[in-house]
């Protein structure tokens, strides 16, 4: 392969396709955190903690537990920043996934029927959300909303509830007063349709 061929190919690479997440400061922060830069972790915390605390609080609804989980989340980020890959997700999506997983783990520790209380009374308004901390309103976001809208309302509602509250099938069935197998069938079919809609 001649160097010229390489130049030509790369020119196509950078010329017509924007680099991944090139203007997202969180990428540089994660890279620095992976190198052991505590200052970068603090900056990431300042830029993302309100968003991630919102995620923890949404699922756990109790401030004390959400605070404990948020602490675990940033220790996990400190440890695992080098696992972030730009090709897979935006930094914010990756961080929110970690927070959601940790919060659900904590919720499960309460028992199979545990679910969140209304959160309005526990959420303090965020005084200054940073632009970099907001989930990007990407094409992916638009596509997911469009595809959820294509599901029947009941299915979309139960999938959204499962996502936002992190509750088990059992808790959903209990709350909806519907057999567990039926709820499971709604969700599985809904997810299949979602996949088909997202990847035609």
């Amino acid at each position: 392969m001649s160097p010229d061929a390489g130049r030509g190919s790369f020119a196509v690479d950078v010329g017509t396709e924007r680099p991944l997440a090139a203007d997202d400061p969180l990428v540089e922060m994660l890279t620095r955190i992976a190198a052991g830069d505590r200052g970068a972790l603090k900056r990431l915390y300042d830029a993302t903690s309100a968003k991630l605390f919102g995620v923890c609080l949404r699922i756990l609804s109790r401030r004390d537990e959400a605070e404990d989980v948020l602490q675990e989340v940033y220790l996990t980020i400190w440890r695992r920043a080098d696992r972030y890959e730009t090709a897979r997700a935006s930094p914010m999506a990756w961080l929110a996934t970690i927070a959601r997983n940790r919060a659900i783990d904590r919720l499960r520790a309460r028992g199979p029927l545990a679910y969140a209380a209304p959160v309005e009374d526990v959420i303090a308004p965020d005084p200054a959300p940073l632009a970099s901390a907001l989930m990007e309103q990407s094409q992916d976001t638009a596509a997911l909303h469009r595809c959820l809208d294509e599901l029947d309302a009941r299915t979309a509602d139960v999938i959204r509830t499962a996502f936002f509250e992190g509750v088990t099938y059992e808790a959903l069935a209990d709350r909806l007063n519907t057999p567990l197998g039926t709820v499971k069938s709604w969700i599985r079919r809904g997810l299949l349709k979602l996949r088909g809609c997202l990847e035609p």
């Binding site: 392969m1 991944l20 505590r38 675990e72 976001t141």
Partner: protein, 235 residues
């Protein structure tokens, strides 16, 4: 029950795990399976990516003022980082990584439970570089002096150029490029620095990425064009 199509069982469980509807036992089983079965882990990862945009709807909430202090006090020193060198893949977010994270937390808890200790000073200097190509950052790098490793994050889109690879070079004060290895598009790598190279990683040294045939340059230096370049500076 109608004859509606359903997801294959394996993918259905992966999707359920990503959505978060599995109970404690099934969730633990899914985590264990992710650790043992990369194909299953990839399915979970794909579902997490599909569903992730929903998190954008969740309202932010200010974390309590003292929380950062708690986190900072809980940060383990860098030198037990051996734990983190295994397993790549972001799908490990809770998969195989669960055990790992548990270990980390155990360490964190130990750290928290011990009397206040003085955080030892960094033995070396943190460095970083933005490697620009065509005026846009193509790679972001940072040097970890504790572990003598370079972290590099590629912003290149995977698949854009399947017939070439990206090779990373360190160009120290003597001007002679040293290969640090290949960088996959869209991936992050932790590149341990050879003893002979570590002293050359200092502020002012350059990092460059060249476009090479599969397997990398066969010459003693880049054989293809330089796609991106940046200078290491102190953080």
């Amino acid at each position: 029950m109608s004859g509606d199509p359903e997801l294959p069982e394996t993918e259905a469980v992966a999707a359920e795990h990503a959505l978060g509807v599995l109970d404690m036992q099934a969730r633990a089983a899914a985590e264990a399976r992710m650790a043992a079965d990369p194909a299953f882990a990839a399915l979970v990862a794909a579902w997490r990516v599909r569903l992730a945009p929903l998190a954008g709807e969740i309202a932010p909430a200010s974390a309590p003022a003292g929380l950062w202090g708690r986190i900072e006090r809980g940060l383990p020193a860098n030198d037990n980082a051996m734990l983190t060198r295994r397993l790549r893949f972001w799908q490990g977010v809770s998969g195989a990584a669960m055990a790992l994270a548990a270990a980390c937390l155990a360490i964190a808890v130990l750290a928290v439970n011990q009397p206040p200790t003085v955080i030892r000073p960094q033995p070396g200097v943190l460095l970083n570089a933005s490697l620009q190509g065509d005026g846009a950052p193509m790679f972001v790098a940072a040097y970890d002096p504790d572990r003598k490793a370079l972290i590099i994050t590629s912003l290149a889109r995977p698949g854009a150029d399947p017939v070439h690879v990206h090779e990373l070079w360190l160009i120290p004060a003597d001007g002679k490029p040293r290969s640090l290895g290949l960088v996959e598009p869209g991936a992050s790598h932790r590149m341990p620095m050879a003893e002979s190279l570590a002293p050359m990683v200092e502020a002012g040294a350059a990092l460059a990425v060249s476009i090479e045939p599969p397997g990398g340059s066969t010459k003693d230096g880049p054989s293809g064009p330089v796609a991106a370049k940046g200078i290491l500076t102190k953080i």
